[in-house]
């Protein structure tokens, strides 16, 4: 299948997406940000719809919206007791905006489907370069704050008692998360990108006992999901996102089951 350029591009792109989402996911789960990752997916959808309306590439619309959204949601959830309701309200607002932008931009239904559910045929070489550069930026951001991010994500109270700048760490992480959502959406679609940001890392928690080992497991499961998903999508002509979801859920349930068995 790799004799086709579009499949090669999809393969390269999804490899970097899986690595980025696999790494970021470990911190999403540790910081209990799964709900936020979900909301950012919806904000990403609105961003892509806005991009269609404004005539700019969808990736840039997504990055713009998810950056604003993650910082806004991050601030809001820090300063309110009603975390879930405020996130729901923001979700609703952005989905509404997304629907509006799509309808006034006169884009066709196919565009909407590919934003929401992802697509492997839309990726060209330039997109691949963009995704790789953005992935590297995310990874570099994480490396810059890695020590503090590790401590704060896995022992917030210990980190705070060492006077770590947990607010700054949180901000850098929210930026990295917003970018990961935008990158991931390019193949998986904005509706399901949160899968790559939560399930491989949740599975990794059952297997790894150190942050490094969790990152390795998480990236491995994300890669298995996107590679196998691409192959199966190519063979069956069914949506790649369907396969990725099924694979990640299956791996998660297996690890969960084994974990429970071992416990009892």
């Amino acid at each position: 299948m790799l004799q086709y350029a579009f499949m090669r591009y999809a393969f390269y792109a999804s490899t970097f997406i899986a690595i980025t989402c696999g790494v970021v996911g470990v911190y999403v789960v540790a910081r209990q940000f799964s709900f936020l990752a979900h909301t950012l997916s919806e904000i990403g959808f609105a961003g892509a719809a806005f991009a269609a309306f404004a005539g700019i590439p969808s990736l840039w619309g997504m990055i713009l919206f998810t950056l604003l959204g993650s910082i806004g949601v991050g601030e809001l959830t820090l300063h309110t007791d009603q975390k879930e309701s405020s996130i729901s309200a923001i979700s609703a607002l952005f989905i509404g905006l997304g629907v509006l932008f799509l309808s006034i931009s006169n884009s066709n239904a196919r565009y909407a489907t590919s934003i929401l559910f992802g697509s492997i045929i839309g990726v060209d070489l330039q997109d691949v370069y963009q995704l790789i550069i953005l992935s590297l930026i995310v990874i570099v951001l994480l490396i810059l704050v890695a020590r503090q991010l590790n401590y704060d994500s896995f022992d917030h109270i210990g980190a705070a008692s060492h006077h770590l700048k947990t607010g700054l760490v949180s901000l850098v992480f929210l930026i990295a998360l917003a970018m990961s959502v935008s990158i991931g959406s390019q193949i998986v679609g904005s509706l399901l990108v949160f899968i790559l940001l939560t399930l491989p890392a949740s599975t990794a928690r059952y297997l790894g006992k150190s942050i490094w080992s969790m990152i390795i497991w998480s990236v491995a499961f994300a890669l298995i999901g996107v590679w196998a998903g691409l192959y199966l999508a190519y063979v069956t002509n069914w949506p790649v996102t369907f396969f990725i979801s099924i694979i990640e859920v299956a791996i998660y349930l297996l690890a969960y089951g084994l974990h429970q068995l071992k416990r009892n």
Binding site: H156, G158, A160, K209, S210, I211
Partner: protein, 215 residues
Amino acid sequence: MILDVHNLTMKFDNRTIFQDLDFQLQEGSMTALLGPNGAGKTTLIRILLGMLAPTAGSFQFDEHVKLGYVPQFRNIDPEYPLSIRSFIELNGPLFKSKQFKQEVDHELEEMNLTSIQHTRMGEASGGQKQRAYLAQALLDKPNMIVLDEATASLDPSAKEELMALIQHLNKKHGMTVLFVTHDVPLAKKYMKEYLYLDHGTVQAGKIADFQEVYS
């Protein structure tokens, strides 16, 4: 003198937690900070650690003091994945040198955690978790350690084990200990001095002379 507190006052909004506290701690002392729930013990500790600014007053540590701190609450749920060792290593560099690994080995041994270092923190017992918190704080190489309600949720044997370790730190390493608790019998057994915080004021003295004035 290792710590000198002068006229320390703390208010949250308009509610006074304590007013004009004056006390000193001596180097190598073992002091119990006693007082009922809500008296302001944790608040006082957080001020001394520089995590909270007092409303008024001042305090001064000896310039050679290196503080270690074990906070009152930690959010470690039963599904928490890191091993005891990885948890302790959070208070260390990203890339671990041989020397750092040896320091971790040493603290694990000192806290009786070597044989269970690969147990997940979420699956560790209350006593094991407290010893891991203490080991993490000891990586800072403190000469004074502050523990906030470290024995509060432990069963009797785990309490004794932790207190013996704290006594060891004081005797063998000359570490100054400030131990926050509302368990008077335990404090009487292991500590030498007391500070009693209640109704916004503090009293100090030898623990043997401490009269239990609250129940």
